[in-house]
Amino acid sequence: MNKFLNRPLTPKRSKVQRSIGESEKNQENVIPAQKSKKIDEKSSNEILHEAIFDNEAELVHQILSKNRPFDQNFSKTMTKMRFAPQSEEYMLLSCDESVISQFVENQRLTIRGEPNADAVLCTETQSFPLKIVESATTVLLMKEMLKAPVEAENETAAANFEFRKIDAKCYALGEICAKSEILHGISRLKDLLHENELEWVVAENSKNGKIYGMSDLLKYVQMSRKEIEIAIEDLPVVKMSNGKYQYLSHKYRGELQSLLVEALDNDELTMENMNFEKLRQIWPVGNVPNEIIHWFLERKCVKNSGSGENFTIVEDELIRDLIKIVMYAKNKMGFRHFQEIIEKILPFGMKIQESHFAGLCEFEDTPNGEKSIIYLSPEDLPDAISDRFRHLFTIRKLWQMEELRPYFGDLFKSRVAFDKYLVQHLEYTLDQQNQLFYCGLK
């Protein structure tokens, strides 16, 4: 990140070094000595440089037009390039036209990153990794556009010099890479949000951890505002009335769900007829702020059509949340034991199905013939993509693409981005039926 906007202290070595002001220097050094000599002792080049120095355009044109490569279509107007009295230094950033047009339309562009990390350029919705281009070229900048002079039709027009100013130099060239389809900053985002999780017992909340609002998160996370919002949607994170985000701890969610299930079992609530007031009655005000009820209705329920502010709890969501609560504490357990526990926890009438485990748990056969269940919720898996793949391959050797996909929904912005990553970075094998299985990282 520090590489941006900081001028390098020492100039880089180059293959070709050119010395500017050379002609003037030659003049300064040579002319006084030559004045005493006869003019025919001057070399042709010296005569040319002298003419250029003295702005004798006609003579310069006359000499050059008889020499290659100036002997064809040589314009009578020549342009002298001179540095401005105080030429400034700038950094150049190579961007796609789409990014430039967003900037021109008054959208903000922001470079984000920690001093020791790579930087990203963010628009409001997207982020692009940035890199410094190491190049042996010199880039000079002119405020005026330079173009070939329009030739006068009259061939007898006199040769002339026009003078143009070089206003600035470039000291570094940056380039934005292809737009990132992976939410790389999610790890940092989760670390920040975990600093002060919301606990059920109010006294446990008085920790020193910082609570972050969107503007704080944007300072520390290398993601655009929209990307942070998308990432937060996948997490148990609630925006409080003060604009700060709070992560609901596993314990907290466990308490919420157990009170909810209890109310459902006691017929105080029904799955299909849920609203703010009813939830307010079962969840204590001291532990559950209103924002969490709104969050629950928005994320875990669907609004009933044509019935005002009534909602239906999504059964699959509730069951998956309960599986998480059971499995988070144990991480791995015998499937029979798990069934016994979950049957006790589930509200009356609800049955667990295989689809409830997708992207949440995997099964493993043990030597004694019993099946065990392993907790693999993306929320608690490693956030670095390669680490997450490694972790999954330690659980099982062979995976099909669709089996892996649910474990990466939080990291990839699109299905295509995930498919592309698999093809580029994973080893695969074929079985006897020519089915493709991924078996490790390249």
Partner: protein
Amino acid sequence: MQIQLIPNENGVKEWMAIELHGTITPQNGEFDEKTLGTICWCGKSVFMIIGNQTLEGKITKIDRPLLVLHKSQNPEDVMIPDEKIARVEAIVRQKLIFKIRPRPLVISATSVPVQ
């Protein structure tokens, strides 16, 4: 840390770039008011004479435009901690590029008029 890119208060104009291979070094350490060279226009070709070398180039449109960034020196811009401002002074969409190796400038004695 964030660096906000904001447009220059006088608007973002279009500038032009000149790209040369290698580095240029002023003889006494200063570029100010030094002459870089003389551009000669020959049809679609552009030649620049720098000392006793001739560079051949052409004006091209840049595929990916360049934002010209300038670190803000305005004290009001750097009041917010962890946040800096860089002004976008201009956009470069065209450049005069000299990418062919420089050739020596050879002037035949017969081309110089007898004085």
